[in-house]
């Protein structure tokens, strides 16, 4: 175990993925002016028409023609410049040769977006082996094949073919969540849904067949950059233990949604244990063991990060429920009762302080208030966040007056001051809320259940961080 960890540590030292996200020069193989050319969409995305990438872009095609401002060459050799990153989107059968040419030119980072490799039959598997061999010989690191490549909002770099419309929107809304994905559809969903959210995308990488780099390598990389939350959409795992070790190394939250829950375990097993050891149950245990947060739905990939980027972590299980509409106090308490969190009874002191305020209907937990001025809201927030018996707030309010968004803005800063989180849900005047969300940077959840989940996940991450001080497995 020690030897393998040492080897892994060495690999991390030598693994520099920066050129994939922030290359000074990129060559796109297979980009041409032919109709429906996918490589051309990448050149278009990088041009000033779209994201306005600041590095140099070259197109390599048979005619040597320029493509959307990218200078064209017939071969890589002819490009006089040094190339940081090669993006290959040609028919599969020429890819091994192109990888060798890249190796000769000294290119060490390649993204292969072409399909037709290990995902498609014997011939594809043979091609993939050839590619892998060439990459090994030249110490090239590969993303793909059969992938969409990279989006880096801060460096305004995107080589995701076909993302012409979405990429410019994405780079205009950079954030601190970095994604590893295995599906273009999920990528598009994340970009679009985060556009009016306080969280945004820092980087996104689509992995495809993972013949070389996998999710664990990018967890290690995102641990070193300005990423605050790492989120994974996985359909397969590169290596189980490698993934667990990478998760354990980073203190940043790692959220994962994995498909294949219903996948049957190995067939014809003799023991109860093996019968029950279906893929998903083991993956679930591995997540808990390493400190990775398992998401329930693909939507949580974009709804939950804001709780982790905007709010302190939930350090205990005791929640104060606050509402200005009695029904939601009960709804919140009901929903919390299905979790490991608890609606904690208030101390006599807290109750007495709440009872003194005008408009407070219920000075117990859940706190319920009637029509009241903003000062009362703020006074309640201070009492709750200052109470020793409260670890966090479930805040569910009606937008009965415009100032409710103002008090929520103050609540965010009070939460940071007290180092206790609030999960905020407001259930009326949705158009006003949408505007306020970005303008006042409010981490608002779209439903009561979502807000409760945010608290649960925040506490899971707190517990994961505590655990990460210890080694994953002791030998």
């Amino acid at each position: 175990m020690r030897a393998s960890q040492a080897a892994a540590a060495k690999q991390i030292e030598t693994l520099d993925l920066e050129n994939f996200f922030n290359p000074s020069s990129v060559a796109v193989f297979g980009a041409s002016k032919a109709a429906f050319n996918l490589g051309a969409t990448i050149c278009k995305i990088l041009s000033d028409e779209a994201v306005g990438y600041r590095g140099r872009v070259y197109a390599v095609n048979r005619k040597g023609e320029d493509v959307f401002g990218a200078k064209g060459f017939r071969t890589l050799e002819e490009i006089p410049d040094a190339i940081d990153l090669a993006v290959i989107i040609t028919p599969a059968f020429v890819v091994p040769e192109l990888v060798r040419q890249c190796g000769e030119k000294g290119i060490r980072s390649i993204i292969i977006e072409s399909s037709g490799f290990s995902e498609s039959g014997e011939e594809g598997k043979r091609l993939q082996r050839e590619v892998d061999e060439a990459a090994r010989r030249y110490a090239i690191r590969l993303i793909g094949p059969n992938c969409l490549g990279i989006l880096d909002n801060r460096h305004r770099f995107c080589c995701m073919f076909g993302a012409n419309d979405l990429a410019p929107l994405a780079v205009a809304h950079p954030g601190s969540v970095s994604y590893v994905i295995q599906s273009g559809g999920i990528g598009a969903l994340l970009v679009e849904r985060l556009l009016d959210d306080v969280s945004g995308i820092n980087k996104m990488v689509s992995l495809g067949n993972k013949s070389d780099l996998d999710e664990a390598d990018f967890i290690d990389y995102f641990d070193t950059d300005n990423t605050e939350v790492i989120a994974l959409y996985l359909e397969s795992i590169g290596g189980g233990r490698k993934l667990m070790e990478a998760v354990r190394r980073t203190k940043k939250p790692v959220l994962v949604y994995k498909t294949g829950k219903s996948e049957a375990g190995s067939k014809a097993v003799m023991s109860h244990t093996a019968g029950l050891a279906q893929n998903d149950a083991v993956f679930d245990g591995a997540c808990r063991q390493a400190g990775m947060i398992r998401l329930h739905t693909p939507e949580e990939l974009y709804t939950l990060p804001k709780m982790l980027t905007e709010m302190p972590l939930l350090k205990g299980r005791r929640i104060a429920v606050f509402t200005n509409s009695g029904a939601f106090g009960t709804i919140g308490a009901d929903m919390l009762s299905d979790t490991r969190l608890v609606v904690s009874p208030f101390s006599e002191e807290t109750k007495a302080r709440l009872a003194k305020l005008p408009g407070v209907f219920n000075a117990e937990n859940p706190v319920d208030i009637g029509p009241a001025p903003p000062e009362v809201y703020l006074e309640i927030y201070n009492i709750l966040l200052g109470a020793d018996e409260v670890d966090g707030i479930l805040h569910m309010v009606s937008m009965w007056r415009d100032y409710v968004t103002d008090v929520m803005e103050t609540l965010v800063s009070l939460c940071r001051k007290h180092e206790k989180p609030a999960a905020m849900y407001a259930f009326s005047a949705l158009d006003k809320l949408r505007a306020a969300q970005l303008e006042k940077r409010l981490p608002l959840f779209a439903g009561a259940q979502e807000a409760v989940r945010a608290l649960v996940v925040s506490h899971e991450q707190f517990l994961a961080v505590q655990k990460k001080g210890e080694p994953l497995w002791i030998q």
Partner: protein, 225 residues
């Protein structure tokens, strides 16, 4: 333990008998119920007297995975007469036996399961959960990737839906958590260190007073070409 496994490998066997399986897990540090293999009726009676009544008799075979269904298990035998009768019935079933196990009878209302399996992605994994004949139906189990720490074992114990069964229950004391933790950690170490073991199934693990005891076990070896 190594000799049991080497012996099975040499004979081309993949499934260890209950008795051999228990010796393997006992040598890893798990508590198993006291038992001996009887090769004759008289030997069975002598062992029963030595262990003390009540006892359990089980036909021992590395070919019979479903002993209860085959009528090879006789529980709560209170005296020599019962043991003699049970011995005759078991040996009359016509199953290929290497003897009859005479074991200490543990009375327990709580039944747990522990196990070890190998996942294609994660390698050896430890399982803990609710055991007994309804294990698959109840499906209240949890996994960790071996080797596991004491902290991992603690989490597993707290994680199952019916973790309340580990507390004081129907007049019985709370289960000795430390013993359960030690057993799970030992199982993980065994799975991680052994190259030969493919699966281990310990079901049920009964609670004797507060102490977890394995009363049935099955060790399955990997296929060697």
């Amino acid at each position: 333990m190594d000799s049991i496994i080497q012996n099975a490998v040499a004979k081309g066997r993949r499934v260890l008998s209950e008795h051999d399986s228990k010796q393997v897990i006992a040598s890893a540090g798990l508590r198993v119920n006291r038992e001996k293999l009887a090769l004759s009726r008289d030997e069975a009676l002598a062992i029963a007297a030595e262990i003390g009544y009540p006892v359990v008799l089980k036909g021992s075979s590395d070919k019979a995975a479903h002993k209860t269904e085959m009528g090879l298990v006789k529980l709560k035998l209170a005296n020599a007469e019962d043991v003699g009768l049970a011995y005759d019935e078991i040996t009359a079933k016509g199953a290929e036996l290497d003897g009859v196990l005479v074991g200490e009878m543990i009375a327990s209302e709580r039944e747990f399961v522990m196990g070890l399996s190998r996942d294609p992605q994660f390698g050896p994994c430890v399982m803990f959960g609710i055991g007994g004949i309804f294990t698959e139906a109840i499906k209240d189990v949890t996994f960790r990737v071996a080797p596991i720490t004491e902290h991992d074992a603690e989490e597993m114990i707290d994680e199952i839906r019916m973790s309340k069964l580990l507390g004081a229950f129907r007049g019985k004391p709370a289960v000795d958590r430390a013993a359960l933790v030690r057993a799970l950690v030992a199982l993980g170490d065994l799975g991680y260190r052994s190259n030969e073991i493919a699966e281990i199934d310990i079901n049920p693990v009964l609670i004797d007073g507060d102490s977890p005891v394995a009363v049935d076990a099955l060790v399955i070896l990997k296929k060697f070409e």
